[in-house]
Chain length 257, copies 2
């Protein structure tokens, strides 16, 4: 799943679609494309990859665009000061394949707008940063090229995958992957965002997210922190239970029966 | 060394130059560019990589363009019936690096013209065919993208060689590891347990950890979940702030000053 944040030029969307087609990717999501959608210039630049452009789905916000996904990579050209794992395109491709094979929901790759990439709120919705190794003195890569590199690594992994190289993945589950529970599944972004909004509402009520000028940054930091949980759907329910319980305060025992 | 055979559009030459710059390649050779050289549209598309376009050298024939090289790869999208080794971009990059380190002369990568790639005479000048793995149903890659993939693999190899940062780019950074924290450190167990006890006390107070016979298991599950955060010392302070704030309930704003 490729998600483009506010792409400006139809031509870039089309070239990205072509790059996706080159590597067997066909699901594209667009968050508020500047010049509207569908786009003639995108179709033209797609050079035949119309099954990608014509199947693209447009969203009003990044929250909605990632709502049904369980793991999202934010692609950036430069490291950011954020407490998120940073992975190479190769690792991201491998991880996505692992997750898909394990039935752990769907993954997505976010790509930023032409001039200034992804904003901090978008990155806060991601689980990991994906950075391609590039010449630090000339690090600017356009969207279609970033999509191309990701698609290429994905296709390389996929080829391996289909050849049954399972051993490659054995023992690679690092800390934090531990989905030990069988009766649960990774939380979707929508569920996670539901928890965030619940928590933030209660924290507003309690006067924690204060003063107002610091609120956006505090919210982002909290979201970053909880993202690192790699929460399951069960975790999200527990967290919401905790927030509800703490906010409500003491309850007489008999109501719990 | 990147050699473009009879490129037609200046724009493609420029985009290829930009891709080269992204991966630290700066020597470009052009065999009979259709619209002459230098090219304004190439410089424009190079997006700042003028040190590549302005340093490009024009040749009258592919023979001359590869004259001083010792090993040349012909990049093609489709296999050809030729008795030449066929290698992936990754292998080509590795081989070039090995040859360079061993002082075995200079290598080059030939890229074909827009419509129909390299001709047989040009391919005959090569030592090996380099083919990127692509979707066979949508195999057409433009020149700049082909250059990008080669540059990317070259840079990945180069990084391994020169910086020895194999693990960083090779996918071994486990989930939750590669953190870029600057002003914090991992929480000690003592700090983490302090948070757990604080949380559990408040949850007991709120009647959440109830009934008593289920309490031990609930506590264990919560501790497991929060362990997965790989919390920093700063995270622990944030979490304790949240718990304190939610438990305390609404506070008039002036107390926060």
């Amino acid at each position: 799943m490729v998600i483009l944040a506010e792409p400006q030029l139809g031509e870039n969307i089309g070239t990205a679609a072509r790059a996706m087609a080159n590597f067997g990717l066909d699901e594209m999501r667009l968050v508020r494309p500047r010049d509207g959608w569908p786009s003639e210039s995108a179709d033209k630049a797609a050079a035949g990859a119309l099954f990608v452009t014509q199947g693209a789905v447009v969203y009003d916000s990044m929250e909605e665009a990632v709502g049904d996904l369980t793991y999202v990579y934010a692609t950036t050209a430069r490291p950011r000061d954020m407490l998120k794992p940073v992975v190479s395109p190769q690792s991201a491709a491998r991880q996505i394949l692992e997750r898909t094979s394990a039935g752990e929901g769907r993954s997505g790759l976010m790509f930023g707008r032409e001039r200034w990439g992804l904003n901090n709120d978008e990155i806060a919705l991601s689980d990991a940063i994906c950075m391609a190794p590039v010449n630090p003195d000339f690090a600017s890569i356009n969207i279609a090229q970033a999509v191309l590199l990701m698609g290429y690594e994905w296709f390389k992994q996929g080829n391996k995958g289909s050849l049954g190289r399972k051993t490659e993945f054995d023992g690679m589950e690092g800390e934090g992957m531990g989905m030990a529970a069988k009766d649960t599944r990774p939380a979707t972004k929508k569920e996670l965002i539901g928890f965030f909004e619940h928590l933030e509402k209660e924290l507003d009520h309690a006067g924690f997210l204060w003063p107002p000028e610091k609120r956006p940054n505090m919210v982002r930091n909290l979201r970053h922190m909880f993202h690192r949980l790699q929460a399951t759907e069960q975790d999200v329910r527990s967290l919401r239970g905790i927030v509800a319980s703490l906010s409500r305060g003491p309850v007489s025992k008999k109501h719990k029966d």
